[in-house]
Each structure stands twice: as structure tokens, then as C-alpha cells.
């Protein structure tokens, strides 16, 4: 009724409050249009990292040798149904070193973090190259650390 009412009796349509200062509007609502809140950069446990797989959360984070990269921009590669989707939300170090995208080279969140001590020189070199690629392409947003009682 608002449009006709405003037309006949005067008045204007007010938009939702995007600031949240008045306690009304979109800012405090849990509507589908609400963008997901940014994640605070810092320390990640394998458990907290695992949800950023592009599916459970639209963001895609990947860890390489203890550093966590925000690969959301590379959704076509690491997102659901992408060729490297197994890496999303995980420590991808071993997979990149072995050039393997299979699940068996990726540790689950409740397993100890891979120490990568058994890698050969060639594999370490390959991993170095991959890490350099990630450093140049994606922002580093934190560090992957073991969760007491879960990964150590």
C-alpha cells in the first residue's frame, strides 16, 4: 500500500537501515542477502581451517607449509567441482610436493599436521615453486598451528 498511499497523501519510501545504528534494517538481520562476515586473520587450527572449503563457507583457504592463503579468487581451481577442490580448507603441502590431487595425500583436520620430513629434494623444490606461486597470487592471511588435544 505504501506507494499508492505516499502518492495520494504524501510521503516517501524509506530504505532499510544499512548501518545497524537504529537496530532495524538489514544489518542485524540474518537474511540471505547479508554478506558473510570477514574472517579475522591470525592463527588457524586444521579444524577451523577445514570449513573454508568454498562449500561450507564461500571463502577458500589453503595452507602450505604452515602458512594460510586466501584463495577465494581462485574459486574456479579450488572451489567445489574445481580440479583442485580437495585442497580447499586443508594443508595442501604434500599434494603440491607430490603433484597429486588425491585425498590420500591430504590429512584430515583431526590428524597431526604433516611434518613433510620424508620429502625428497625434488619434491621440496616442487613445493618451493608452488609456495612462491601462492605467495605471489594470493594474500597470506595467517598461520596453521596444531590444536592442543586434537593435532598434538
Amino acid at each position: 500500500m505504501s506507494f499508492i498511499k505516499n502518492l495520494l497523501f504524501g510521503g516517501v519510501k524509506t530504505s532499510d537501515d544499512p548501518t545497524g545504528l537504529t537496530g532495524s534494517g538489514t544489518s542485524n538481520a540474518n537474511g540471505s542477502n547479508k554478506p558473510s562476515e570477514p574472517v579475522v586473520a591470525g592463527n588457524f587450527f586444521p579444524r577451523t581451517l577445514s570449513k573454508f572449503n568454498g562449500h561450507d563457507d564461500e571463502k577458500i583457504f589453503i595452507a602450505i607449509r604452515g602458512k594460510v592463503y586466501d584463495c577465494t579468487r581462485g574459486r574456479q581451481f579450488y572451489g567445489p567441482s574445481g580440479p583442485y577442490t580437495n585442497f580447499a580448507g586443508h594443508d595442501a603441502s604434500r599434494g603440491l610436493a607430490l603433484n597429486s590431487f588425491e585425498m590420500d595425500v591430504i590429512k584430515d583436520w583431526d590428524q597431526p599436521i604433516d611434518p613433510l620430513k620424508d620429502l625428497t629434494t625434488e619434491q621440496v623444490d616442487a613445493l618451493d615453486e608452488w609456495q612462491e606461486h601462492f605467495e605471489n597470487k594470493y594474500p597470506c592471511i595467517g598461520t596453521l598451528i596444531p590444536e592442543p588435544g586434537v593435532n598434538v
Binding site: 500500500m1 499508492i4 544489518s27 570477514p38 592471511i141
Partner: protein, 561 residues
């Protein structure tokens, strides 16, 4: 007439009204809206990660995260990409206009062709470049022919000899390093130099040479503007051969001194990025074109404040348009007859609206309909005042400045406390729609940080006519997303613990391509120390005292202070 008939009639009318409202709201209005509600609710691209004690990085949706901010003109030269500089811009302007387009300067009855202004500028440049002068201090308004041509000549020098224009708020009372040439408006000002004339190698007086007083010249030369332009010819060419790389980016474009004596330097990249940003801000179907005429208030053209006009002015001229300057005392509907774009301060816009508003009931009715339609996102001209005079006007840029530019320029270590008020100096969102309705033009509200940032910090969307509740308007002003040359974040400050970073509130920090660099070493040191404190030295500039928040729509909202 039976009761049942009346009841039937009432029900029928109610059904028709409800049906019409549903049809209008659900379908017809959607087709008429300039911008969808979804687009208005997502005006910024937001980084997915944020650091502790600060918000995520926000940038205009036109430059999404991962893409570069608008920088330079993106000129393609051979196989290299150049950003361009003033030389490229002026060369292109002269080629497009063939010298025929005009600029109407104040005190002139007629417009002056670009060919004539170019000829004067080149003549002045030619005479000044024979000596090895460094910077040229300009304290005149650039809206005058003298100020404009001298600025033009010094901009030409900025790419050819390295001498740059130095915009001054007034004639300096202290010696300014590197200032070899001083431009002053009259012989009266010359007499008031009071010995400071010895600081300069050359003094240019924009006054009649016949009225020159007697003076004893020792180390300095005095010349009038008329003597400098003597022998100029109408010239519609400006040749510039660019280098093969991007080395122009870092060349200085101008120095600007604020009234509180802080000087900032701006590179060529600031100018070209500012131009590109303005061009990019126009939506499809409403782009700049050759029939454009921009009218700029003389208040914005006073020497050191003129930093904000060049981007818009050159962008319009680049498209083959014309320009004019107008004194606020002469500003009325009739004076805007040929204007398509108007660039004035918000306060002047308020005064203009106050002076031209109509009070008859028919206009009030039209105004009510128009503001209703605008609040629905539909642009209309039904309530336009003086349609004949304002027929061509299509956008008004209303320039607002940050609350305290002085404190920003000082880079203090101690952050002030936010003192909120419920009184705003900027028109409310409803009032802005009334202005849109009465002028029959879009209104873009811009936020400027004078003397420190070239061009706007943020501006509302061309199509954003949203009206917020009074309680929102009483608290904050919506300035839309940041311009495409900048990205920003809010940071937590110790002095304002009530501003919650979790709800995107804090003090604004920006970085990008239109920010000036402090010239004085102590200010530069302070700026670097603050940048380190609030951004880990990643080039962030805190706008001290600019407190606000990011809306869920990605727009910048600043608190009324």
C-alpha cells in the same frame, strides 16, 4: 442506495487499490528503476579476511578485490602500457577540441577558446622556460584568465622542465623552499610584500602594467601577466612526445599548501587517476560526451582549493566538452542554462535551493509525487523548477569536506575523541531527493579531504536516491562507496572504545593513487609513523578524526560531528 451496494463498492475499490499497488510495486516500478535494490545493497567489494582491530578492506564494486584500483589513463603506447600525464591529457584535449571548445572564466564577458588559452599558456611557458626557474607559486584564483593560463603554463613545465605549480592559499609570509616565481593578483598585493619580494627570482603581477608603482628592483624581476602573454597566438596544438616507459608517473604535478601551512606534493599519477576515476563514475548510457558543459563554483577554484577541480575539468574537456566558472553570488537557474554538470560546495547548493524554491500548492503536489518516485528509485523531472533554464542540467556534484582537514594534515599521534551530534550540515537523504526533484537532475554527494587528496574520497552512486529514516540521517551521512582510485578500512582507536570494529565502526584509513605526500620532513615522518601504527606501513593514510562505519551496502557513513 442500499448498504450492501456501498459495501460492494468499498470492497471493489479496496481490491482495485490493493491490486494496483501490488502490480505497481511488484512489476511496473521494477522496470522503471534506475538501479535495482540488489545493486544498491552491494556497492563495495569487501575483502574476505580482516586483521584484528580493523575492518576488512573496502573498495568500490567497480574495482573488485583482485583487480587493480583505477590508476592512470591506461594509454597504450607501442607494446607498453603507460599511465599518461598532463602532457598526454592536454595533447588529447587540444586534438579533440581543435581549440574550438571554450572555457568561460570569471570577469570575462565572453568565453575563451581553448586555442586561445593554449596559446597564452604556451607563450608564458616559453618565456618562463628561458630561465631555470623552479616552482611557480600561484595564489590567484584559477577561475580567472590570468590564474588559469599561468597554471596551464606551469603544468606544461611540470612535464617538460620539472618546474611545477605551487598552489598557495595566500601570499606566503615565510620563505617557501624552491619557490622561485610568485604570482600575485595586483600591485596592491605587490606593495604589501614588505620585503618578501627578495625571496623570489620573478614576481608576476596580474594587473595593469600602466598602474605599476615605482620600485627598486635588486635581485628579483617583476613582470605583468599582460607582458608575459604579449605576442601569443591562437594555437590549437600541443605536442607532447611521451617516453617509452612509465617514468612520468612519479614526475611531480603540483605542490599544494594548506591555509595551516602544510604542503603536499602530487604526482602526475594522481592527476590521471583522478581523471580516469571521474570518467569511470558515469553509468552506461550516461557517459560524458561532447555536448557536456561543466560549471564550477569559484569557491572551489581558489588557488589551493583548486586541487579538486582538475580531474573533472580535464575529463570534460577530454570528451570535447566546455567549462565555465561561476561566482556563487551569480548562481541561479538562469545562469545554468547551458550547464550539464554542476560542481559546487554543499553549502552553496543549499543556498541555491533556498533561493529558487517555489511555494505554490501545485508545485508542492508535484514535489510530493517526485520525491515519492525518487525514493522508489525512479528518476523524474515532473517537479523541476524552471524547466527551460535547467533543461540540460543532468548532474550536480555537491562537494562536502571532512570535518577537520587541519588535524588530518598534522598527523597527530593522539587521536581525538568522537563527539557525535544530531545536527548535520549536509542535506538529509530526503532533502537530497527534494533537490533532485526541483533541479530535475541527479545529485552526487562527494566527500573531499582538501589539500591532502586529489579528487573525492567517496561519492554516492549516480542512481542512488535512497531515503533513510530520520534516526539514521541524524547520526550519519552516507557518502557512497570509496572512489575507484582508493581502498579503505576502519581501524580501532584507543580514544574511541565505543566504536565497535565488529560492527564495522572506527576511524577511516585509505590508500591509493590520489593521495598527496607531505613535503616537509617532519610531517612526512609523522605520516609514516601513523601509517606504521594503523596499517603496518603498507601505505595506509589514517584520516584522523574521520569516524564512521561501513554499511551493509558497502557505503561509507560518517558520523555527524
Amino acid at each position: 442506495m442500499s448498504w450492501s451496494f456501498v459495501l460492494q463498492l468499498l470492497v471493489t475499490v479496496l481490491v482495485i487499490v490493493l491490486g494496483a499497488n501490488w502490480l505497481l510495486s511488484s512489476f511496473l516500478l521494477d522496470f522503471k528503476r534506475d538501479l535495482t535494490a540488489v545493486a544498491l545493497a552491494q556497492q563495495s567489494s569487501i575483502a574476505s579476511v580482516r586483521n584484528e582491530h580493523e575492518t576488512a578492506y573496502y573498495r568500490s564494486i567497480l574495482v573488485p578485490t583482485g583487480f587493480p584500483l583505477t590508476t592512470g589513463l591506461g594509454l597504450s603506447l607501442k607494446y607498453k602500457i603507460r599511465n599518461g600525464n598532463f602532457g598526454d591529457v592536454w595533447n588529447a584535449i587540444m586534438e579533440v577540441s581543435k581549440g574550438k571548445n571554450t572555457i568561460k572564466l570569471i570577469r570575462d564577458e565572453k568565453s575563451t577558446s581553448l586555442g586561445e588559452l593554449n596559446g597564452m599558456g604556451k607563450r608564458i611557458f616559453q618565456k618562463l622556460s628561458t630561465e631555470n626557474y623552479k616552482n611557480i607559486g600561484i595564489s590567484n584564483s584559477v577561475a580567472t584568465k590570468e590564474g588559469f593560463t599561468l597554471t596551464l603554463a606551469s603544468m606544461m613545465a611540470s612535464i617538460k622542465t620539472g618546474s611545477v605549480p605551487h598552489f598557495l592559499p595566500a601570499v606566503p609570509r615565510q620563505q617557501v623552499k624552491g619557490l622561485d616565481v610568485l604570482v600575485i593578483d595586483s600591485w596592491r598585493s605587490f606593495k604589501l610584500l614588505n620585503g618578501s619580494e627578495d625571496w623570489y627570482k620573478l614576481i608576476i603581477v596580474c594587473d595593469d602594467p600602466k598602474r605599476a608603482p615605482l620600485f627598486d628592483s635588486k635581485d628579483y624581476r617583476v613582470v605583468t601577466w599582460l607582458e608575459l602573454i604579449d605576442g601569443y597566438v591562437n594555437d590549437s596544438e600541443f605536442q607532447y612526445t611521451p617516453p617509452d616507459d612509465n617514468s612520468d608517473d612519479k614526475k611531480l604535478f603540483a605542490h599544494v599548501t594548506s591555509p595551516w601551512n602544510g604542503t603536499n606534493s602530487f604526482n602526475q599519477i594522481c592527476l590521471v587517476s583522478n581523471i580516469a576515476e571521474f570518467i569511470k563514475g558515469f553509468p552506461l548510457g550516461n557517459e560524458l560526451n561532447s555536448s557536456e558543459r561543466i560549471t564550477i563554483s569559484t569557491k572551489l577554484a581558489s588557488s589551493s582549493a583548486s586541487l579538486q577541480i582538475w580531474g573533472k575539468l580535464f575529463a570534460v574537456l577530454l570528451h570535447g566538452g566546455s567549462a565555465s566558472f561561476i561566482n556563487h553570488t551569480n548562481l541561479d537557474c538562469k545562469s545554468l542554462q547551458k550547464t550539464t554538470l554542476l560542481f559546487i560546495e554543499t553549502e552553496e547548493l543549499r543556498k541555491l535551493m533556498y533561493s529558487i524554491s517555489k511555494h505554490n500548492w501545485l508545485h508542492k503536489l508535484y514535489l510530493s509525487w517526485a520525491t515519492n518516485l525518487l525514493s522508489e528509485g525512479i528518476f523524474t523531472k515532473i517537479a523541476q523548477i524552471e524547466p527551460k533554464s535547467l533543461e540540460k542540467l543532468r548532474c550536480v556534484y555537491s562537494a562536502d569536506t571532512v570535518k577537520d582537514a587541519e588535524i588530518i594534515s598534522e598527523f597527530p599521534e593522539k587521536i581525538p575523541q568522537l563527539k557525535k551530534t544530531n545536527q548535520r550540515t549536509t542535506p538529509s537523504t530526503e532533502d537530497l531527493n527534494k533537490i533532485r526533484a526541483q533541479l530535475g537532475s541527479r545529485v552526487v554527494l562527494e566527500l573531499y579531504c582538501p589539500y591532502a587528496i586529489m579528487g573525492a574520497v567517496a561519492h554516492t552512486n549516480f542512481y542512488d536516491y535512497r531515503v533513510f529514516e530520520k534516526s539514521v540521517d541524524d547520526n550519519v551521512v552516507c557518502y557512497g562507496p570509496l572512489t575507484t582510485t582508493l581502498e579503505g578500512k576502519m581501524v580501532e582507536t584507543e580514544t574511541n572504545p565505543l566504536l565497535n570494529i565488529e560492527t564495522r565502526q572506527g576511524m577511516l584509513c585509505i590508500r591509493g593513487f590520489t593521495i598527496g605526500k607531505p613535503v616537509e620532513s617532519d610531517r612526512l615522518e609523522k605520516a609514516m609513523s601513523l601509517a606504521e601504527k594503523f596499517g603496518g606501513g603498507e601505505g595506509w593514510m589514517p584520516l584522523i578524526g574521520v569516524f564512521g562505519l561501513w554499511g551493509q551496502d558497502g557505503c561509507l557513513y560518517t558520523y555527524n560531528q
